[in-house]
């Protein structure tokens, strides 16, 4: 299994798409942070305080988590759908599976390698943001770090990274599953983006009905759970997390909902892949 994970990591690390997506993600975070810092002198004092908090440590970290949640999930969905969809379109499943490796093991290795890369999609932007916050703090005459950094703080940081990881993994798994079922990276990417956008519309319509069942259905949508976690439960210390308004999903229910979606995607992907014939390239 270790050998197969190394194989999948080799494919991902040598794939230009992985680096392009990572550069886009980091570039987006860096660009938006620097632009915000540049505009800090021409805004009102209350907006200025908010910006300074978001471009220096530790406030830059939950800000980065939100950026990763929004854009990182799209990029991971693209990578995940491509990872399996292009195996079909290039016909590369044939030489690999003809070696006799069990399909479940192959798929497991592929998902584990993607999981490692997904961690990079969360941790690397955090490191870059932390590094970027240092020169920005010096330039803006701000302290390098406000607040107390202790073991509890690191625990909160780890929890925030973990939650953000889960937020980006769910769309990635949906894209992977659709890419696998449709034998197409375009199908996977399209489905993941379509679900992200379509879910918002469905949620607005169902909320508008204001019925018991429609509210219950909205609560079970993955995007609602992700939004609740990011907006209200993914803070760092007293930063970033506003008190949730009445009716917001509890953190436990939101995490459970996302966990169930992840599990369903995994089980269906394994069932589909194990039974399906592998024919010529698409």
């Amino acid at each position: 299994m270790v050998s197969l994970i190394r194989m999948e990591l080799l494919k991902l690390v040598k794939r230009p798409m992985t680096w392009v997506l990572l550069i886009l993600l980091h570039g987006g975070i860096g660009f938006s942070t620097v632009v915000a810092a540049l505009g800090v002198r021409s805004v009102t004092p209350d907006v200025r305080d908010a910006i300074l908090r978001n471009v220096t440590l530790p406030g830059i970290l939950p800000q980065t988590a939100t950026f990763v949640y929004i854009f990182g999930s799209i990029m991971l969905a693209i990578l995940a759908a491509s990872s399996i969809g292009s195996e079909y379109s290039w016909g590369t499943l044939r030489p690999i599976l003809a070696t006799g490796i069990p399909r479940g093991r192959f798929l497991g290795a592929k998902l584990l390698a993607l999981a490692v890369v997904a961690l990079g999609f969360v941790v690397l932007p955090m490191l870059m943001s932390a590094a970027l916050a240092v020169p920005l703090a010096l330039w803006l005459d701000q302290p390098l770090m406000t607040g107390t950094v202790d073991l509890a703080w690191f625990g909160q940081l780890a929890a925030m990274i973990g939650r953000t990881y889960l937020l980006i993994v769910v769309p990635g798994l949906i894209a992977f599953l659709v890419g696998l079922a449709g034998r197409s990276q375009a199908a996977g990417i399209g489905a993941a983006l379509g679900i992200m956008i379509g879910e918002q519309i469905v949620a607005v319509l169902l909320t508008g009905l204001n019925l018991g069942w429609s509210r219950a259905v909205v609560d079970l949508l993955p995007g609602q759970s992700s939004a609740a976690i990011n907006n209200f439960y993914n803070g760092l210390g007293d930063l970033g997390a506003a008190p949730p308004p009445p009716g917001t999903l509890s953190e436990g229910q939101a995490l459970l909902t996302l966990g169930v979606y992840s599990l369903v995607c995994l089980v269906v992907a394994f069932l589909v892949f194990r039974r399906r014939d592998v024919r010529g390239a698409a």
Binding site: L10, R94, T99, P102, R279
Partner: protein
């Protein structure tokens, strides 16, 4: 199915080398349907150790589907497959561990170099020493180009890398689907020589090719598929001798035809100009000469004319195009 390998008495192979006719691949009753269409219909075949086994059939005959079933890519609806003593349907990993294959055009990762593609295959297989990369790249003539992107390779180079990938783990059974596809004439000759060299080294090879002349030169035995069924299977020499004819030229072809039509063991006589084509047992040529001499007919030419594989293939498949 712990031990399916059968050992038979040692025999002399068609290329003159001593072979052990141990069955390394056996398929029985192999069947695949897509909806109402049966693509492979009860296929039985046996490949013995050390032989080059040809897999022929018109386009759509079910060759690639049969190969894909053998390699575990497609699940059969019925039948059994045993490879190197392992049931390939229930113990695929063990069955395919010592098998190398290219199915259709070699398809590798276009953004990876040839060498990295071999690394991917080596990691999939596990236990392939690094030195093997140079060995197989040398063998297929890709040394020096291994760091180029696979996507930039010509079709011929892709075929060569496919062979290199199939040979990476020193397989006991090599399955090659159209290995000469995309090669120029010189490349085809090289590929044929490579296959023959591997065969002489004792490599068991299943060769699927539409180049019938190549198959005739390289293969010991063949199976011919038509509409998913095996319509002929056996040693190339035996199959070709089945349709062989005796060519006869005498000083009086019309009288010779009349005389020979009355001979019981001559199954058919056809006259083409001054030449007679006889369908008769090959061991009766002296008897034939004796009969003609008794009737005062003088023999100018008497020889055996065997069909080539192409003629045999066309006769057995009803002239369907493609192989």
């Amino acid at each position: 199915m712990a031990t399916m390998i059968e050992r038979a008495p040692r025999a002399i192979g068609p290329r003159g080398s001593e072979v052990v006719p141990e069955v390394v691949l056996r398929a029985t009753g192999l069947t695949k349907r897509y909806g109402a269409r049966t693509v492979v219909d009860g296929l039985d075949l046996e490949v013995r150790r050390g032989e080059v086994f040809g897999f022929l059939g018109p386009n759509g005959a079910g060759k690639t589907t049969a190969m894909a079933m053998i390699l575990g890519l497609i699940a059969p609806h019925a039948g059994q497959i045993a490879i190197l003593g392992h049931d390939a349907l229930t113990d695929r990993e063990a069955a395919l561990r010592r098998v190398g294959a290219i199915v259709e055009t070699p398809t590798y990762y276009p953004y990876l170099s040839g060498l990295d593609n071999l690394r991917v295959l080596a990691l999939a297989r596990g236990g392939v020493p690094k030195e093997r990369f140079a060995t197989v790249l040398n063998l297929v003539g890709l040394k020096g180009r291994e760091r180029d992107r696979f996507g930039a390779y010509s079709l011929g180079m892709k075929q060569r890398l496919g062979i290199a990938g199939a040979l990476l783990h020193e397989p006991e059974l090599l399955i090659l689907d159209e290995p000469s596809n995309g090669l120029d004439p010189a490349g085809m000759v090289e590929m044929r020589e490579l296959i023959l060299r591997l065969a002489h080294e004792g490599q068991t090879i299943v060769l699927c090719s539409h180049l019938l002349a190549e198959v005739q030169q390289v293969c010991d035995r063949v199976v011919i598929l038509a509409k998913g069924r095996a319509v002929a299977q056996g040693e190339v020499a035996t199959l070709l001798s089945q349709g062989a004819q005796t060519v006869l030229r005498t000083d009086d072809p019309i009288r010779s035809e009349m005389v020979l039509r009355g001979v019981e063991w001559i199954e058919g006589v056809t006259r083409e100009g001054d030449t007679l084509l006889l369908t008769m047992p090959p061991d009766r040529q002296f008897a034939l000469g004796h009969i003609l001499a008794e009737h005062g007919l003088i023999v100018g030419e008497l020889r055996r004319k065997e069909r080539d594989l192409e003629a045999y293939f066309l006769s057995i498949t009803g002239g369907e195009a493609g192989a």
